[in-house]
Amino acid sequence: MIIPLESRLNPKWKIVIALVTFLMLTNTIYSTINPIDNQNKSPFRLIVTIDVEKPDGTIIHECIEDDIILRNFVYFLINSLEGSGDSSSYDLIDTTGTTKNYQTVHKVDEAVITVGDGNTPVTVTDYVLDNEIIQLSITNNQFKNTAMEYNATVISTWNPASSYTIREVGLITGLSTSENYLICRDVLTTSVSVTSGDIITIKYVFLMNQG
């Protein structure tokens, strides 16, 4: 005759099993009930695009996703939020290689996109391109947004006088009255050859809150 296990258990064991089960369940529930907030999105990504329009109308398009932010940019952000701290711990390095204590006046009319043909891998302490060809003034801006997403784009164009091979690009911003700082640099996976007659458009696109 088969007697159900439950009916043969000592009452004390029933209590123990019930207690263990209860503790396991409550702990599991407590561990898994974390508040979920669906309002969050990733802050921003930085993308660089290079478009070369050949005289015959052919378009060559290159895109660098997730451009590398340099230490200068991070130090700038720290200094901006640190206020009077003005700590020498976060000195920036300008494009001449000189370490400069942060100055609070930012010269914003000197933002430029810089183009080079060096291919040294990027490090976050870079302050200048490996081998700069030219600095290009920002000639256009675009700012577009939906309810929750933004694209901020800065644009330069270039009509090269002779042949070059683009292997690296960067973004320089002027943060004081006489100093310029490289804040982004990237080396292209595939170099882009350009020559006289080409029209090159380079865009830095800040994608905000788009994951």
Binding site: T21, S42, L81, S84, V124
Partner: protein, 226 residues
Amino acid sequence: MKNETKVILTIFTLGIILLGYSFIQTPENIEPYYNVIKGDNRNHDGSTVGVTLILKHYRNGELLGTTVKENDYLLKNFAHYLFRLNSGNILYNDESVKLNDTGGTSELIWYSANNQIRTTPANAKIGIGTSTSVISLEDYQLGTLVQTDIISSVGYSVSSNKMNATFTSVHPITSTHTITEFGLYISLHSDNSINEDFLLCRDVIGTGINVINGDTLSVTYVFMFN
């Protein structure tokens, strides 16, 4: 030993092992509470910048718990500040590069000359509040501000091309609140020489932090680059 006894002992032993394992695996073993608030579960690997909010709640010097909120929003003000920095001087007076101050007024950001912007010597601030209103990127102030306190410490760390910048404020609590929202303010010069605060980030957490007089709330914004 009877079979049923073996079964009972096996169940009991497994239960104890599972219980111990679950305690080891959950942060509650370290701190009384530890909430991680996820974003929308998109793949954020490779994002240029991520922002995480870390909240630590102290009472009588003891840590009551930690809440971590990942993948914060950056508000329109932040985008405009960034844009203003890197867009040259072409659109300095365009709506697309104005920032809204904490009163909601759209302000031109410039100092001394149109081609200059300037952060003020004032430290940036972090605000705490009690509103649970949904975030809008147009937000320029917390929904229900309780208090702001200056950023008292900053930090920087680097590993290969990955960098973290941290900004921490410590908020002494003077009355009972359920703190649900947080914001990061920057102090900038607008219209030549006026010092104003501008909200760059605002965050709302689903489960508020219940604070009372005497508590301390530490708020840290972590900007993670590359």
